[in-house]
Amino acid sequence: MKRLHFFILSSLLSLGALAQTSAQSVNDSLLAQNIAKEFELDNFVVTGYQKIDRRKMTGVSTTVKIDDETVGTILNVDQALAGQVPGLSSVSSTGAPGAPLKIRIRGISSINGNQDPLWVLDGIPLDGTEVPTMDDLKDIDNLYQTSIAGINPADIESITVLKDAAATAIYGARAANGVIVITTKKGKAGAPKINFHTKLTLSPNMGLGRLNLLNSDEKVNLELALLRSDYTYHENKGEVARIIAGLGETAAYKAGGWGALSADAQNQINALRNINTDWNDILMRNAFTQDYGVSISGGGNKATYYVSVGYSDQQGNVQGVSANRFNTTMKTTIRINEMLKVGASIFVNQRKQKSFMTDTDGFTNPVYYSRWANSYFQPYNEDGSYRYDQDVHYDQVESGPDFNILEERSNTDRTRKDRQIMAIFDAELQFTDWLKFTTQLGLQTDAYTIDKYAGEHSYAMRKDWENSTITVGTDKKSFLPTTGGKHEVTEAHSSQWTWKGMLEAQRRFGDDHEMQLMLGSEIRHVDANTVYTAAYGYDPRTLTSQSVTYPSEDWVKSFPLHRETQTENAYVSWFATGSYTFKERYTLGGSIRFDGSDVFGVAKKYRYLPLYSVSGLWRIGDEPWMKRVKWIGDMNLRASYGIQGNIDKNTSPYLIGTYKNTSNLIQVEQKIDAATAPNPSLRWEKTRNVNVGMDFSFFKGAITLGVDYYYRKSSDLIGLKMLPLETGFSSTTINWATMQNKGWEFAISTRNFWRKNFHWTTQLNIGINNNKVLRETVRENQTTPSREGYPVGAIFALETAGLNEYGDPLFRNAEGEAVTLKELLKLNEDGLVTISPEEQRKLYKYMGTTDPKVSGGFINTFEYKNWTLGINFTFNFGMKVRVTPSYGNVRYDRGKNSNRDILNRWTTENTSSTLPALMYFANKPAATASDAEKNRYSEFAYYTSYGQAYNELDMWVRNCNYVRLQSLRLGYKFDMPWMKRIGILNATVSIEARNLFVIASNYDNYLDPETMGNPYAQPIPREFIFGLNIGF
C-alpha cells in the first residue's frame, strides 16, 4: 500500500538514495533497464515525448501510479484522478453511466476555447476527448462518450499530470489547459504472469427528500388557494382546477370557497390528497455494476508482451439506462539488436449504451419529470392503460401532445455503440551511447452509431406529427405517415494519424556538466464525417418504412431524411528542448515549439504559433553545506516561465460563408450562408505562466512538503460577445479581457506512525486559486457590472430590502433607501427600463465567486499487517452559487410540482414572509386605475418580458462550502503459505464506500452542495464497491 503515496513529492523524496546510485547510468538506456524495475517509474517523469530524469525535471508534474490493488476501485480513467492531484479539480457531470468527468487543471485559462486538458496515450495525443458543456449534459439521454472512456483502467500503469509551462510547452497550443499522460502497462521479462480482477458496485437509489417537493395534500391545498386568488396565470392547470371546472363550479368556488363546492367535487378533490405517487421510486432504481478483467504478461530478453481483456457492465440509476464496455489490449516490444528497439500496441474497445428517448422536450427527461410531476398524478388508469399528464408540458404552454413517461420508456429506444481502435508503433534507434532517434506512429479510429426509435404510441412521435401539421385542402393533418414510428440512425467516423520523429542527445562532459538536447517534428491529420438518416412510418416488426411527401422544400429542412457533415484538419509542429545540468545540482532548461494548423480565411502569419518556456532547478539539499543539516533530506527550488498563444480558428477577418442549397422559388440554387460575423481586429490570446516551487523532505522522509506558487496572466482573452442584433449577427468573438490566476499549491505528506506492523500516513493537498479579471471590455449596452477587479466567476446581485405592501421585492438603492423596482429602474408604464445601461450596472452588489478559493484533499492511510484502511476527504471552500429561484413570481406554473418555498411566499395572510408574492395581470390596467395598480403592472410587465431582476435578487445567492468523504476503503492482502503452492502470487480483496456523507454549509432544497443551483441534477451517487484481485 505504499503506492498510495501518489504524489511526485513523496516519490521524489523516497528516491533520493536511488538517484545517487543511478546517476552514472542515466545515459545508457540499456543499463537503465537494469535499475530496479519498481523504481523505474518513480525515477523518471514520462512526458509523452521524453522520459525526464526527475532530478532534472524543472516543470511541475504529479504522477498517480495505478497498481494492481487500487485498480479494483476505479471504473474510468478520469475517476482515478479525482481528489489525488493538487491543483486538479474534477466534477462529475452527471450520474449517468459512462459519463465523463470535467477536469480542470489550475483553474480556467480560456473562456471561449476548449478548457479540457490534453490526454496522451503512450505518447500519442488522443482526439475526441472534449467533454461537452454542462448545459448539454443535463440530458441523461445524451450519452456522451469521449475517447478516454474506452481505455481500460486495468491496463494503466501510471498517469502523469503536467501542470506548468515548463512541463507542457512541448505539447504546444493544445496543452494550454494542462496535459494528462497515460502510460499503459507493458510486459516484463520473466515467467508469464496472469492477473485477474473483478469489481462489483452497488449504487442505491437516492431519495429526493432533500428537494423538499410538495406532497399531494400540500399541492391540493395550494391549488385550492391559488384558484381563489387573483393569480390567474395558467388558471386551468392542476387537477383541482380541472375537477372544479369539470363540474362547472369554478365561479361558485371563487365566490364561496370550499363550502360552496358540491359534495362530489369535495370528494374528488379529497381523493387526490390520498394519492402519493413516488416518481423517484418509479423512475429510478438501485444500480448494480460489474467489471472483470484478465491480463497476461511476460517476456524474454529480446521481447516482452502484455495482453488483456476486460468487460464491464454498468446500470444507470435511471431505469432503462445501461452501458457496457469490452476491451482488448495487446502490446509487445522487441529488441532487434543493440541499436534498434521496436514496439507495437493495439487497443481495441467496444462500448454500448442503452436508454430511451428522453430529449424530445426538457420535461421528457425522467430526472426532470420526477421533479415536475405531481404526486397526486398516477401513471396508469384503472384499466391499466396509460394516463396522460395534463399539467407538465414543454416550456410555458398550456397543452401539448399526450405524454406518459412510462409509455415513452417502453415505446422508444436509443442505443449508442462506439467502436475504437488505436494502434501505436514506435522505434528507437540508439546511434551511440549519447545519441538516439525515436519515432512513433499513432493511428486512432473511432466510430459510433446512434440508433433512435420512437414508436407510433410515443410523445416523440406525436410531437413530430404536431410539428408537421399542415392544411391539405381543408383538412389539418401531418404530412408524415400517420401510422408507424420513426427510426433515426447517425453514423460517425473519425480517424487521426500522428507521426513524430525526435533526435535526442544526452551527454556528460567531465564530471560536472550534463547536456541534453532534443529536436523533433510532428505531423497530424484528422478527418471526421457523420451521416444521419431517418425513416418515418417505421414498423419495427417488418423493418419497413413509408414514403414521405413533403408539401414544400422548406419542410425538408425540418424533417430531413439525410444529412452529412465532413471535417478535415491538419497540423504540423516543430519543437526543441534542451537542458544543461551543472554538478547535478543546477539545471537550466528551455523549450520551444511552433504549431502550424490549417486555418481557413486566416492570414498565413497566424498559421504558426510560437510557444516557449525557460526553467531552472536548484537542488539545494545536495549542496555540500546543506549535508550538515541532518534533518533536512531534500530541498529543491524550481522556477519556470513560459508563454503560450492561441487564436480562435472560427473567427476570420473576412466574411466567411458556407455553401448551401435553397429554392427561393422552385428552382434549386446554391446560396452562401454567411452566419459568422467577421472580425478584422481579433488578436492572439496570450498566456504568460510563472511558477516557483520548493520541495522539502525532513527527518528522513517522515515529513515531506511541496509548495508551488503560480502566476498566470492571460491577456487579449478571446470571448464570445453578444452583438446588437442590428449588426445582422447575434454574437462574435472579440478580445475582451485580461485575467490573472494566482495560486498556491501545498502537498504535505507525513509518516505519523511507522512500526513493523502498523503504518499511518497522512497526505494533505491544498490548492488556493485567486482569479481576477484585470481588464474587461464592457459594451455600452451591457447592463450587468464589469468584472474588472473581480473574479471571472463573479456573482453580482441586486440587494433587496424586504418586501413592500403587496409582497413584491424592495431594493436598496445607492443612497441606502428601500425603493421599489419601478423606482430603481425607472420603469415606464409598459415595464421598459428607462435608465441607461451604465446606470443599471451601478445597481449591483458583488456577492462572491463561483470558483472555490480553497480546494483539496485529505487522505489518511492505516496499514496493520495485511490490512489497509484508506480514508479520503475532498473539500472546497469559499465559493458562492446562484440558485434558480424556487418559483417565478410572475410565471409560477401551478400545474407542476415545486419545492415548499411556494407555501411560504408572501400572501395577505402571511405578511411576515421574506419570499416574494405571486403577481399577475391578465390585461393592462385601464387609464382610470389607481397609480398603485399601474405601478405594480409596470413591474409585472418588466418581470414577464424584459427583466432578469428577479433571478438576480441577492436572496438567490448562497454560500457553498463542503467537505465530502469521498472514499472509505478497507483492503486485505492474502499472504498464506498455501497460496504459493497452488500458484497464486498475490491476492487482495477490498470493500469501499464512496460519497458516504458530506458536511456542508446550508444546501436546503438541493441534493448535494456540488449541484446546488441545479434542482434537476442527479444526486451524486453513493457507491459500495467490492473488489478482488488475484495474480498467478
Binding site: A570, N664, S681, L725, E726, F729, A922
Partner: protein, 443 residues
C-alpha cells in the same frame, strides 16, 4: 544517418504549407461575381415573411376556438389579440435580426462593388442595384412594423428603427427617427435606379429585384408618406412596364398571387405560407361585405360551410408576391383621388374593374364611382385595395396609414378582444431579444 534525417526535415518543411492547405468542404470567402450572387441569394432566402404574419393582427383573419391547434394557440393567439404587453413565452416573434442580416449582406455587397472579380460590369451593377433595393425594402418593412406610420406621427421626432448602412459588426446604434429611415429608403431607391439593368427575370428568378421594382417600391413608399404626386408618377411608370392584369372572369387565368402570373413583378415574399394559412380562416364578415358580381369573392375565397370560408390565395410554394401590377393600378388610383383628380383615379380603377367584375357589373360599378365625392371615391378605392390585396400582407400596413379603425375579435362565445381606434398597438413593440442585446432600443 543524421544527414538523411535533416534532409527529410527540410523536405517536410517545404511540403508543410501544402499539407495545411485544406479547403473545408463548402466554406468560401466571396470573391467572384458568382459567389457574390450566391451571397445575395442567401440574403433573399432569409428574408422574413412578416407581412404575412401581420395578417393575424388585421381584421382579415379569424381564429376558430373549435379547431385551433394547441401549438397554433401557443404560438399565434397573442398576436391575433394584440397581447403585446404580456404574451405567452411561446408566442412567435416578428423578426428583427433576419431583416438586419440581409441588410448587412446588402451593405457588404455595396461596399465591395469594386472588388468583385470574374463578372461583367453589367452583372456587378445589377447585383449592387439589387443590394440597394434589398436594403431599402428591409428598412421599409422594419419601419412600418416597429415605427409609427409616417402620416400619423411627427416623423422628425418619433422613433423608427436603428439605421445600419455599413457592414460594421462593432456599431451600437440608437433608434433613428421615422423621417431618417424614410430618407435612407428614398436614397437607396435612388441609388438602385442607377444600378439596376435587368428588365425582367425568368420565372424561377423572379424573387430578385428588377429594374422597374425601384419605381414599384418608390410608389409604395411615397403612398405611405402621403407624397401623392410622386407615388402617382412612379405607379404610372410601373403600369407602363407591367400593364397586364389577370382576367379572373374567364377560365384559364392564373391566381394573381402566383409567381407565374403575368401580374408578378417581384416575388420575394410568400403569400400566407402554410404555417400561417392553417392557423385560421378568412373573416366571414369581410367576405360577405364584398358585393356580388365582384368575382374576387368567388376566386379568392370558397365557402366551406355556411359560416366558414376557405382562403384560396397563398399556402403553396408558388404563391409569392412582393410587387404585382394590380397594386400599382390601385396605388395610382388612390394617389390621383387624393390629389383631387377623380377622373384619372377612375381611369386607373377601370382595368381593375374590367378584369375582376362580371361583365354586367362593370359599367354600373364605374358609373357609381363617377357619382362619388372625393372621400367616397378614396374609400371605394381603399375597399377595392383591401379585397384585391387581401392576405398578401398589405392590410396591416394599410390600416396603419389610413383609418387605424377599431377592430373587435371574438374567440369562441365568451372571449372578446378590442383594438381601439388609433390604438398604440397599431405599432408593434421591438422584440425583447433585440432590446436585451441592445438596451439602447428601449426608449
Amino acid at each position: 544517418m543524421k544527414n538523411i534525417f535533416l534532409l527529410s526535415l527540410v523536405l517536410l518543411l517545404a511540403s508543410c504549407d501544402k499539407f495545411l492547405d485544406i479547403q473545408p468542404t463548402g466554406k468560401v470567402i466571396a470573391r467572384t461575381g458568382e459567389e457574390y450572387r450566391a451571397l445575395l441569394t442567401g440574403a433573399y432566402d432569409e428574408f422574413p415573411n412578416d407581412r404575412s404574419l401581420s395578417t393575424l393582427r388585421t381584421d382579415e383573419m379569424f381564429l376558430d376556438k373549435t379547431d385551433l391547434t394547441p401549438n397554433d394557440y401557443n404560438t399565434y393567439f397573442d398576436i391575433w389579440v394584440w397581447n403585446d404587453a404580456t404574451p405567452s413565452e411561446t408566442t412567435a416573434s416578428f423578426n428583427w435580426m433576419h431583416f438586419y442580416h440581409p441588410i448587412y449582406i446588402a451593405s457588404y455587397i455595396i461596399e465591395k462593388e469594386g472588388e468583385i472579380e470574374e463578372a461583367s460590369p453589367a452583372d456587378v451593377s445589377q447585383l449592387v442595384g439589387e443590394a440597394y433595393m434589398l436594403r431599402a425594402y428591409s428598412y421599409f418593412i422594419l419601419v412600418n412594423l416597429y415605427g409609427k406610420p409616417y402620416t400619423k406621427c411627427n416623423p422628425t421626432t418619433d422613433l423608427g428603427v436603428p439605421l445600419m448602412v455599413s457592414a460594421d459588426v462593432e456599431a451600437v446604434l440608437e433608434r433613428s427617427t421615422v423621417e431618417q429611415v424614410y430618407q435612407q429608403i428614398l436614397s437607396d431607391i435612388d441609388m438602385a435606379k442607377q444600378y439596376l439593368n435587368v428588365d425582367k427575370w425568368e420565372d424561377d428568378f423572379k424573387y430578385r429585384f428588377n429594374k422597374i421594382s425601384a419605381d414599384a417600391l418608390l410608389a409604395r413608399v411615397c403612398l405611405y408618406m402621403g407624397r401623392w404626386q410622386e407615388s402617382l408618377d412612379a405607379s404610372k411608370a410601373v403600369i407602363a412596364a407591367y400593364p397586364e392584369l389577370e382576367d379572373i372572369t374567364t377560365t384559364g387565368y392564373t391566381m394573381p398571387d402566383n409567381y407565374k402570373s403575368k401580374e408578378a413583378i417581384v416575388c420575394l415574399e410568400r403569400v400566407m405560407p402554410v404555417a400561417y394559412k392553417s392557423i385560421g380562416y378568412p373573416d366571414k364578415n369581410f367576405i360577405t361585405s364584398i358585393v356580388t358580381g365582384d368575382l374576387r369573392k368567388n376566386r379568392y375565397f370558397k365557402a366551406k360551410t355556411s359560416q366558414v370560408y376557405d382562403l384560396l390565395k397563398g399556402g403553396t410554394n408558388d404563391t409569392r408576391s412582393t410587387f404585382r401590377s394590380a397594386e400599382f393600378y390601385l396605388t395610382a388610383a388612390e394617389a390621383a383621388a387624393r390629389l383631387g383628380d377623380l377622373n384619372e383615379a377612375i381611369d386607373h380603377m377601370t382595368p381593375i374593374v374590367n378584369n375582376r367584375y362580371l361583365a354586367a357589373r362593370r359599367t354600373p360599378t364605374i358609373n357609381a364611382m363617377k357619382a362619388m365625392t372625393q372621400d367616397q371615391l378614396i374609400d371605394a378605392i381603399l375597399e377595392s385595395r383591401r379585397i384585391e390585396l387581401c392576405f398578401e400582407g398589405h392590410r396591416w400596413f394599410d390600416l396603419r396609414r389610413t383609418t387605424q379603425q377599431s377592430i373587435t375579435k371574438k374567440y369562441g362565445d365568451d372571449e372578446t378582444y378590442i383594438l381601439e381606434e388609433g390604438d398604440s398597438r397599431y405599432t408593434i413593440l421591438i422584440p425583447k431579444e433585440a432590446i436585451s442585446a441592445n438596451p439602447l432600443l428601449a426608449q
